[in-house]
Symmetry: C2
Amino acid sequence: MRKLLNVFTLFAMTMSVLPQAAAQNRRAVDLLVLGGTIVTMDGTRRVIDDGGIAVSGGRIVAIGPRDEIQRGYTARKKLLAFGKVVTPGLINGHTHVPMVLFRGLADDLDLQEWLTKYIFPAEAKNVTETFVRIGTRLGLAEMIRGGTTTYCDMYYFEDAIADETAKAGVRGVLGETIIDFPVADNKTNAEGMAYVEKFVSRWKGHELIVPAIAPHAPYTVSEAHLRAVRAFSDRTGAPIVTHISETKRELDDSVKDKGASPVAYLDRIGFLNNRVIAAHVVWPQGTDIAILKRHGVGVIHNPQSNMKLASGVAPVPKMITEGVFVGLGTDGAASNNDLNMWEEMDTVAKLHKVFSGDPKVISAQQAFELATIRGAQALHLEKEIGSLEIGKRADILIIDRDTLNQIPLYNIYSDLVYATKGSDVQTVIINGRIVMRDRRLLTLNETTIKTEARALRDKIIKSLASPAPSQ
Amino acid sequence: MRKLLNVFTLFAMTMSVLPQAAAQNRRAVDLLVLGGTIVTMDGTRRVIDDGGIAVSGGRIVAIGPRDEIQRGYTARKKLLAFGKVVTPGLINGHTHVPMVLFRGLADDLDLQEWLTKYIFPAEAKNVTETFVRIGTRLGLAEMIRGGTTTYCDMYYFEDAIADETAKAGVRGVLGETIIDFPVADNKTNAEGMAYVEKFVSRWKGHELIVPAIAPHAPYTVSEAHLRAVRAFSDRTGAPIVTHISETKRELDDSVKDKGASPVAYLDRIGFLNNRVIAAHVVWPQGTDIAILKRHGVGVIHNPQSNMKLASGVAPVPKMITEGVFVGLGTDGAASNNDLNMWEEMDTVAKLHKVFSGDPKVISAQQAFELATIRGAQALHLEKEIGSLEIGKRADILIIDRDTLNQIPLYNIYSDLVYATKGSDVQTVIINGRIVMRDRRLLTLNETTIKTEARALRDKIIKSLASPAPSQ
């Protein structure tokens, strides 16, 4: 009976045979998502069977049982999600998007060797605005295909990254790097600060882009420059994206050189505020977690990157318990080696179980929270994204439930975290705009992206065989 | 120029316009795989660019540069792999295939609670021959789609599993469970031993199926029964599939009850031989690793299952260094929750790096070895499978190289282990037979499988809501 009803409704919607009178009473919106199990991630973690979502002006204006939504709203554009799962878009809290072009360039090395022998030389020889644009398009295409709708970035030529991201219709907290040595786009701190000033004022208030300032790490940026970053953030409201306490070596050096852990040092110099987004925090000491909590710092955990570089295991269960805002990230694809948030969710649950010896630690639901609502908190965007609720941005995934790896289904969060693959994501909506439909990218040209990326690869290989250019 | 040549060759092969004279000198075989980068996993780990493989009677009769193969061999059936990667089929060294039907039934629990409160009751109420056949088909379909060509199993009604596996054209080392309590197919040890006697004699010598005896674990099978298993294996040559030292609790109980670790106990009672395939071995003590090496026991490491159940981290790098045959497995999909060997490879490399603190431990190439040639050694089948070499069974994958997550490519092993997904596997050949072509299953009906599995799921949920049936 219910099946018959669905078939009829489908027919009715497709053929627009609904009585005019009824249609006239309904509010016209931009887009309706109809049918499917909606995993809202709202405050009560409501799951709606056979639900519906109405979208207008890039935001969710109604969400509930499908029949209610259909009674109240009408739209020319409809996405049918019968038999599928509808979730908030995933939030990749930390990456360096153009580094997809270095994916697999050097693996199975420790962070120092990997950075100084391979990545820094490869960057010195190859990073230009063109490189950054091609890499960003490649990374954005991979992220959309995997259901990531918001990402937080730190790289060079961030203005070009913002431009590509906005064109592709993806949401980004994008941080221009500040670092105390000459890099591709800026040769001095003064140049970098001038760049970021222009960058932030250009993009501030954009509906997709949150421009940010990104001091690389406490060990690569001087105290004076870090203070200037904080002052800039206070003046402009720009988030501060940074790396903190990624390795034991960073911790040891900090204790030796500054007499404090990286977190305690940053607290001491007045750097931390509730706009800071700190990647890693693998080695918090003493009161570090309390400091992060007190300042409202967002922490982004990158389990696969930390594993691959043997950086350590961040005390994520403890940070969550103590009320720190924690999100999840892939890190750059040069260290992971992909931008797949489904594998990070699967890994974060499994890693902390075995590391703590407690299989109840980081449940499937918590892992999904880290990639959605908790990720939004860590990026200080929880009022805008991270859940499907009235008033929030319409960043929505429709996920296939018919692939073999998902059958059968007993528990929706278990299925999403332990069984769903990136390739199961079928349709992606960001800010109310459909950017992938039935696995076809609508805002990016995949063929061109692949051709350009492969051409650049050949150039990168040649560049590494030749001596470094003088700065 | 090379591109032009390829296009011409393709045209020539398709249209059969090659001169008759040349064709007459070539040996007719069943199947040719032409083009692509062949990752052989042979003794020298040879990688052949633009390679070719000739297959006859289910075995590889020639492998080398494509032009050589094309000069020497002809076949009606040809698979073109230009621009793709060709590898040995993956070996899933440990699973309980029908348990895919319990995927996601209960998660985030420790092994004892998970087994005794959820899995054993669910099995008691649901496992029949029909259940096993439906679950096996579902699991086989998932494994083929992910490029697994050989798997090692332990479950009930293993004769039905063998029947389904042979029909699907998949290779299996299939062990009928021996356990000291009444189970679905056998109520006593005598019944179990009689079943296994018939089972092994029925399947022995089959080109796909290696029938095996599978005593569940040293803590669920008595010493006398374990000795009888060993005698059965000596008499019939059947492999012995078992679980050893999965948890700290198993180790502690063994030391308390038997005065020795599980491995030392099994050595003492004369159970171990070079046909044993031992899953897990998370907690080897003292000379346990040397004992396993001395007897030629194969060990199957299940990183994701061990993580999810918080069982611990097996000392795999040490076992490899000491010369133990180690392979890789998913374990049952009720504890993992999938049958995806690509994720196990990715995880095994990353887990041991972070656990040891050494990012050089378990390189990408070693991880790929664990799923191919080392996996074959652990199943005692290294003369038949695990690499692409003349004389070996033709178990071959053709893998797409054109998905975004694989671009660009710098290192073939890094790409396979850290970036390739199960969904990138395009075509699967087992024993010379094409079982999946361009993502379409040729030996199994996916639609029927899904329908049957979903119907069973509803039955399983109902069964768990009602009281347990009396045995």
